[in-house]
């Protein structure tokens, strides 16, 4: 069945040295409980979760400690039992090394579960109940991006799903966590895939696995035959970086190209990672939330490389010490793979849901970026390898010139930051760094623009309102004057009436005065108005900052 499948090519790509054997030597290591767990409220794409515990609260393993906040959000669970010791800003895994709000738990060592609901059979659950369960378990894409998984399983009533594609390519060098997961827990993976297939009502299901993982491939096959499953195709694909890129994998397996600026869903495909599948199985069948994941620890700077089941929130330094520590040659620490990962300035940061690998490079290992860059010689090597079929050297020129309009004409946002172009550039130009810079700048500009648009709108509304109020006031005055006039005409006729009228007039006078006062506040000088607006804007910004 799997040998007959027709495969397609994507443009470019690289044959990279795998370095996978470094970390596949031994079985997945057991969970250990560190002295503290640091859980960032934001571990996924979307709105960050909202803490539901406070400092000093006792928590049990699996208990929700932060709830989903909005649709694109998931809850967060305590990975072990203990006490919430702090809710504070801590450095989190992020390329720019920023800090974010984290719940810090001090484990009590008892590792005591909350009561889990009894296990369930997915076949008796309708897709929406399944999705709720997956969301409540806090599951996000474990392949790296961290998009809430339940959303991807909700294509909408109108979209029929042709293919559910399972990403088992794990194309980046050094990383082996998915490989080891498939070798050791193939049945979890297959069961998870069946659940997703059920939720999506997908016509067929394909697993794409690079041909450098024969053991994992065999394990999946065994699991299928053991479970008596014949509607999942396991397809071996050539090892070519980045075959595990979502759009590239879909192309290889189906020949379909997800549109530029679009989603796989637009071509009837949903793509999920193997580790996500296994987590979904645990969540749906045993109601177990996502509180740990398999992480690869590898590189020449590590004494005992391997894969471990790690609790979410485990500080990297404690974990590495637990695993035997660094070699003296340790030079650089990377979260993720060597092509797309990012440098850590410190190891005092936690493992989060999307951390698949911690890479410790030794002296002389992978120091591509140490070289001084030469000018671009337009050799086109970068273009030849770009899987998104872009013109990397043109993107580079535009980023260099800070021409952020032109760079979008060259489709900057189709760049998947795979790093192939930088890898081959004979001038050693850090191309991807330029693209990241350009993207960040463009996002910032757009944010600013939105902000000023909003401010402008607010200002316009205000002017409109003032105008309206002014008109109303004038109208009232006019009526009043008219009434006054008729009153004066009759003055001579009735002095009593006159006295009443005078009293009324005084009252009106008073009213008018108070009105003029409001008017004073309303008609501020431009300068005063700007000050107030600025204060408003700042306040809004502060509110937003504290929520994001």
């Amino acid at each position: 069945m799997q040998s007959k499948h027709k495969l397609f090519n994507f443009h470019g790509g690289l044959h990279l040295p795998g370095h996978k054997e470094i970390s596949t030597g031994q079985a997945i290591g057991d969970v250990f409980i560190p002295s503290r767990l640091v859980l960032p409220l934001q571990q996924h794409i979307g709105e960050s979760s909202e803490a539901t515990v406070k400092e000093g609260d006792p928590v049990l393993k699996g208990q929700i400690i932060a709830k989903a906040n909005g649709y694109v959000s998931v809850p967060l669970h305590a990975p072990t039992s203990g006490t919430v010791s702090q809710i504070i800003e801590q450095p989190v895994p992020h390329p720019s090394g920023l800090s974010a709000t984290c719940i810090v738990i001090k484990p009590d060592g008892k590792d005591e579960w909350i009561d889990l609901d009894s296990s369930a059979d997915y076949r008796q659950m309708d897709p929406s109940a399944l999705r709720n369960r997956i969301r409540d378990a806090g599951i996000v894409g474990l392949g790296g991006a961290g998009f809430p998984s339940f959303i991807k399983l909700n294509p909408g009533a109108k979209t029929a799903i042709d293919e559910l594609i399972i990403n088992a390519a794990e194309c980046e060098p050094y990383i082996t966590c998915d490989d080891m997961l498939m070798r050791e827990r193939a049945e979890d993976v297959i069961n998870g895939i069946r659940i997703m297939k059920h939720a999506l009502q997908a016509r067929r299901c394909l697993i794409g696995i690079e041909d450098n993982k024969p053991e994992a491939h065999a394990a999946l096959k065994d699991a299928c035959s053991k479970l008596g499953i014949d509607d999942i195709e396991i397809i071996s694909i050539p090892t070519l970086y980045p075959a595990g890129g979502e759009k590239q994998l879909i192309k290889v397996l189906t020949g379909k190209e997800s549109p530029s600026h679009g989603l796989p869903l637009d071509v009837g495909v949903v793509c999920q990672n193997v580790a996500t599948a296994a987590a979904i199985y645990q969540a749906v069948t045993y109601n177990k939330p996502l509180i740990s994941r398999i992480v690869t620890l590898t590189g020449e700077g590590i004494k005992q490389p391997g894969n471990h089941e790690v609790l979410i929130g485990t500080p990297v330094d404690e974990w590495i010490t637990y695993c035997g520590g660094y070699h003296d040659s340790i030079k650089r620490l990377v979260m993720g793979g060597p092509m797309m990962g990012f440098n850590l300035g410190t190891d005092k940061i936690p493992i989060i849901k999307t951390s698949n690998c911690v890479l410790a490079f030794g002296e002389g290992e992978a120091d591509a970026q140490e070289q001084q860059a030469m000018p671009c010689i337009r050799c086109g090597a970068c273009m030849d390898v770009c899987p998104a079929q872009l013109l990397p050297q043109q993107l580079y020129w535009q980023a260099y010139a800070r021409d952020f309009d032109k760079i979008q004409d060259y489709n900057l946002f189709d760049c998947i930051e795979c790093g192939c172009c930088s890898y081959v550039c004979p001038s050693q130009i850090p191309l991807v760094q330029y693209y990241r810079f350009a993207k960040t700048e463009i996002w910032a500009l757009e944010r600013d623009k939105k902000k000023s648009d909003r401010a402008r709108l607010r200002h316009e509304f205000r002017l409109e309102r003032l105008e309206k109020e002014k008109k109303e006031r004038e109208e009232r005055m006019r009526k009043k004057k008219a009434a006054l006039k008729t009153g004066k005409d009759e003055k001579t006729k009735d002095s009593k009436k006159d006295a009443i009228e005078a009293a009324l007039e005084r009252v009106r006078e008073k009213q008018k005065k108070s009105q003029t006062q409001t008017k004073n506040i309303d008609n501020l000088s431009a300068e005063q108005q700007k000050k107030i607006d600025d204060i408003d804007a700042r306040r809004n910004q502060e509110q937003k900052d504290s929520t994001s």
Binding site: K247, R332, G341, F342, G345, M374, P375, A381, Q433
Partner: protein
């Protein structure tokens, strides 16, 4: 623990510009050896003189432009330009001709345009064309095969511009085969009459055909190593073959055959080593083909009907000018973009 921060990717294929240039220079070696086998020491002396001039002027320009000297000198690009220029110039050239051509290539065509990576025109071809236009009489003196000079003679000619009384210049020099076809045709001789001369070898110019074969070997090695892409040489050669073929079939007595066109003059050298200069060539896949076909066609046209002996240099420079336009209109389709 604290660590140093840089941006991914952290891996590299360890290719760099000086290695690329060096490999191109290596690929020239077989051709240079065969060249000096047929034509003696002169070519080696010329190459050395051109290289010395190139490195000195490159260093000077880097100093003037306040660029890191050692860093850019290591890139080997000046040496490559010098080698290509020396190979393109006549074998018997006075020293100042070589020096002027090299100076123009490095100082004007390269550095005044912004240095490595910024030159719109191929520096070697600029140098060549400058002396071709300024000193045309020196550009037609080519040695006859096996009439080569030994080292002392070569040096003597190069710097003093004269030879021992025993050897007369006329007895050892002649026009190039391409040139003699042109003159012959203008004297109403037929191709078969012209090519009976000892200047002609088995399928190209005598001696030159073997030099071209050696350059071809080096060029194929470069493609094999992934240093150059096949599009440019293949399309360039094909376009010459097709054009020459059409005219040859129409009238074999007025037009030389395609094989001759390929293996005489600088066709092979240009196709694999000069047109492939990345800086001044088109970079898109389709653009590379258009660029190379343009060079091939222009070369054939200038050779056949133009006033200069070999049109390759002009063809390359003309197409260099067209590169920005070609690149603009041949951008590849982005992955997932609609409309294939």
């Amino acid at each position: 623990m604290q660590f140093k921060k840089t941006s991914s990717p952290y891996l590299h294929n360890n290719q760099n510009i000086s290695l690329v240039m060096l490999q191109v220079i290596y690929a020239l070696i077989p051709g240079i050896l065969v060249y000096s086998y047929f034509f003696g020491w002169s070519i080696l002396v010329n190459i050395i003189l051109a290289c010395l001039t190139a490195v000195a002027s490159e260093a000077l320009m880097l100093l003037l432009r306040k660029r890191p000297l050692a860093f850019f000198l290591r890139d080997n690009s000046a040496i490559l330009t010098a080698c290509l220029l020396a190979l393109a110039l006549p074998t018997l050239a006075p020293w100042w001709l070589i020096v002027i051509a090299t100076l123009f290539a490095i100082v004007v065509a390269k550095h005044l345009y912004g240095g490595l990576g910024y030159n719109p025109f191929n520096p070697a071809m600029v140098g060549y064309v400058v002396v071709m236009i300024s000193f045309p009489q020196y550009m037609t003196q080519w040695l006859q095969p096996h009439a080569g000079l030994d080292l002392s003679q070569a040096l003597q000619y190069l710097f003093l511009g004269e030879l021992n009384a025993a050897i007369s210049l006329d007895s050892i020099t002649s026009a190039t085969p391409i040139d003699s076809i042109k003159t012959g045709l203008s004297l109403n001789q037929s191709i078969s009459e012209i090519s009976a001369s000892p200047l002609f070898g088995f399928w190209g110019g005598a001696g030159w055909e073997w030099i071209a074969a050696a350059f071809l070997l080096g060029g194929l090695w470069l493609i094999y190593r992934g240093i150059i892409s096949w599009q440019i040489p293949v399309s360039l050669l094909l376009s010459i073959v097709v054009m020459a073929g059409i005219f040859y079939l129409a009238d074999p007595q007025q037009y030389s055959n395609p094989l001759f066109q390929l293996f005489s003059g600088g066709t092979i050298l240009a196709a694999f080593f000069i047109a492939t200069d990345p800086v001044s060539a088109s970079t898109t896949p389709k653009g590379r083909i258009i660029y190379a076909v343009g060079i091939g066609a222009l070369t054939f046209i200038i050779r056949t009907w133009g006033g200069y002996p070999d049109g390759i240099a002009f063809a390359v420079l003309l197409m260099n000018m067209a590169v920005p336009t070609i690149d603009y209109y041949t951008q590849p389709r982005v992955f997932g973009a609609s409309g294939k």
